[in-house]
């Protein structure tokens, strides 16, 4: 008898707990529709979210979920959950290189109709290109990014115009015993692919064909390999170049070892914390390889809407608000990320926080996109593996290997290193 009573008591407690669970679930539903945004940890993004929530007037409530800091970690989490058809992700902050992959897999929704025209109006062309796959728009450009050449004006009175000029100026400084090193991204990772893609496109070469189905690696791309090797084997190259990512390059220059740095504009904001260094820290357009203006690889973030979302309308509206000119201005001023809406560059406040805005805008107008293929992750891994370490490049042989292994990667036949 006693046992039965105890059992009943336990069942009662269990039922009560279940009921409580349902109640809380209902409670959160009453506050309106929640739109879950997954984006990299951006310092002042919450302010943008709050502003959009206020504007939505209770129609939806955006919740900011922070993804890991590393790009690989961000992609892995989103891809894993999308593959499992997770409906708790609504808006995704995608790196510009992931559009094709997620679109082809059927994990993100196409932008159509008025949402599409609103995204397109006033937006710079290259960032829009990164969000387009097979003629369809799959993302709304949030911020963009291009590298510039950063130099120390106390060592270099006039910045170099060409790649070779930069190397010879740096070598001359090093020969004089001055801190004349060149720093950049030579580690076996995406940064090396960005560097190579810039060199190839600036030189008028191609890595993959237009449809992203065939590996080309033409003669111009071979010349780009030679240019990369020349940098990597120069006397002026940072000795840890083959293991340097963005921040290693930034720190090497801030610590006074280098006179030249190829890096994203965030280094400007970071340098302002060291006034002695910042007063001589200047920028110039990326040095040219072919003589014409360089086609610098574009980076940045696009918003996409998950195919498994249960509230597509609210999600698209949230995207439009999160990437509005107002939001982009806030992000540019507070977090230093370049806007994708052209008009934002001309806002008066931008001049002070963003002195290099004209150079960025000019570079953006002539920027290049990394190969557009669903197999981009594999393509990128193959390129960074084969090019690493950059000092070991043998242009013709390296190009042959690139062509073969890239083709395998595109056919999902190859083993990823």
């Amino acid at each position: 008898m006693g046992a039965t009573r105890r059992y009943r008591l336990a069942a009662g407690v269990g039922a009560a707990m279940l009921a409580a669970g349902t109640l809380t679930a209902c409670g959160s539903g009453d506050q309106g529709i929640t739109v879950n945004v997954y984006k990299y940890p951006q310092e002042n993004f919450q302010a943008i979210v709050d502003a959009c929530n206020a504007k939505a007037g209770g129609r939806y409530n955006i919740v900011y979920n922070k993804l890991p800091r590393e790009a690989d970690g961000q992609r892995e989490q989103m891809v894993r959950r999308l593959a499992a058809e997770d409906d708790s992700m609504d808006v995704l902050g995608l790196d510009v290189t992931w559009t094709a992959e997620l679109a082809k897999a059927g994990w993100i929704k196409e932008f159509t109709g008025s949402v599409k025209s609103q995204v397109e109006s006033g937006t710079l062309k290259t960032p829009l290109d990164t969000a387009t796959y097979e003629g369809k728009l799959y993302g709304a450009p949030d911020n963009t990014n291009v590298q510039l050449l950063w130099y120390r004006s106390d060592l270099v009175p006039t910045p170099p115009k060409t790649w070779d000029e930069m190397i010879s100026m740096a070598e001359a400084l090093v020969a004089e015993g001055k801190p004349g090193q060149i720093v950049g991204q030579g580690k076996q990772y995406e940064g090396l692919v960005v560097l190579y893609n810039t060199l190839v496109n600036s030189n008028g070469g191609t890595i993959l064909d237009e449809n992203g189905t065939k590996a080309v690696v033409d003669d111009k791309a071979v010349e780009a390999l030679a240019a990369l090797k020349k940098l990597a084997t120069s006397k002026a190259i940072d000795p840890s170049f083959s293991n340097a990512a963005e921040d290693n390059a930034r720190l090497a220059m801030e610590n006074g070892n280098a006179a030249f740095q190829l890096n994203w504009p965030y280094v400007y904001a970071a340098a302002q914390k060291k006034p002695d260094f910042a007063k001589n820290f200047k920028w110039a357009p990326y040095p040219t390889v072919s003589g014409e203006q360089s086609k610098v690889t574009v980076g940045g973030i696009n918003y996409a809407v998950s195919n498994y979302t249960t509230k597509p309308n609210e999600s698209f509206d949230a995207v439009l608000c999160l990437r509005s000119a107002e939001s982009q201005k806030l992000a540019a001023l507070k977090d230093g990320v370049p806007p994708t809406i052209e008009a934002v560059y001309d806002e008066p406040e931008m001049a002070e926080a963003y002195p290099m805005r004209d150079d960025i805008k000019e570079t953006l107008k002539n920027a290049s996109v990394r190969p557009r293929t669903p197999a981009y992750q594999n393509v990128s891994t193959v390129i960074s593996t084969i090019l690493s370490p950059p000092a070991g490049i043998d242009p013709q042989a390296t190009a042959d290997r690139l062509r073969k292994e890239l083709q395998d990667a595109l056919d999902s036949k190859g083993v990823l290193p």
């Binding site: 593959a83 083959s242 197999a375 891994t381 999902s412 036949k413 083993v415 990823l416 290193p417």
Partner: protein
Amino acid sequence: MSQTTTEDTATGTGASPAPVAARKKVALSEGKKAERRLGWLLCAPAALTMIAVTGWPILYSLLLSMQRFDLKFPDRTEWIWFDNYVTVLSSPYWWNAVWVTVVLTVVTVAIELVLGMSLALIMHRALVGRGIVRTTTLIPYGIVTVVAAFSWRFAWTPGTGYLAEALGGDPVLTEKVPALIVVSIAEIWKTTPFMALLLMAGLALVPDDLLKAAAMDGASGWQRFIKITVPIMKPAILVALLFRTLDAFRIFDNLFVLTAGSQGTSSVSMLTYNNLIKGLNLGIGSTMSVLIFIMVAIIAFVFIKLFGTAAPGSDDGGKR
């Protein structure tokens, strides 16, 4: 069978009536049958869960390994049978990873065995501060591998690390052989205590009287160690080696943090992760998992064969 037994009992040879009776009871008693059925029913949930969580995934990865299955190209999924195995087994990346893994395993386990044995002897023989000796020895094993790996990485990074500075500021983690040496050091530092712990348990089996008797007979310290301690400890050594070899063969975390597999330092696990999780190529990735499974099975088999009777599970293990 049952007929002959009944015949035997009927003829009354009286060879072995007791077992026959027992067998008959099993065959006849309803109570026993019900008990047995209950036993099966009670086991069933656990057995089914095991099948669901281990059996099915193993089978599923076998099935995946025979398909072209790439999440990036969902419309290109098809059965290709052993093509994935051909691709993987003819890939230089795979064989490089196999060699890296084998070398790492052999080198680290060998050094760990020697160091672990010395540590175990010290811990076993320590007269003063035994607790402190044991605690300090075990500290590396108590630190989370990833955390330890990060401190190794910083220590070896020029500019931030004391070890890199001490060795002239070369970025050791950017070249294959130096990077693998650093990974080995990190592995050995981390898991030697585990080896020592297992070996110490074995040392406790060696009777002191035997060692004293041998000493009386004039055996030197080394002779006592080789002729008495090691043979008695053989099962413990086998267990320690088997555990560590299988563990070392699946090395992932240290490599992931220290080199992330760059410059050809990928182990087989690292390579599988890259293809499966990063590359979303479930076909190739599953093929690699199956191959790792086979290799691990071979290692276990070879160990059991090599050590023969001393293997765990063989009944006459204590025969010496």
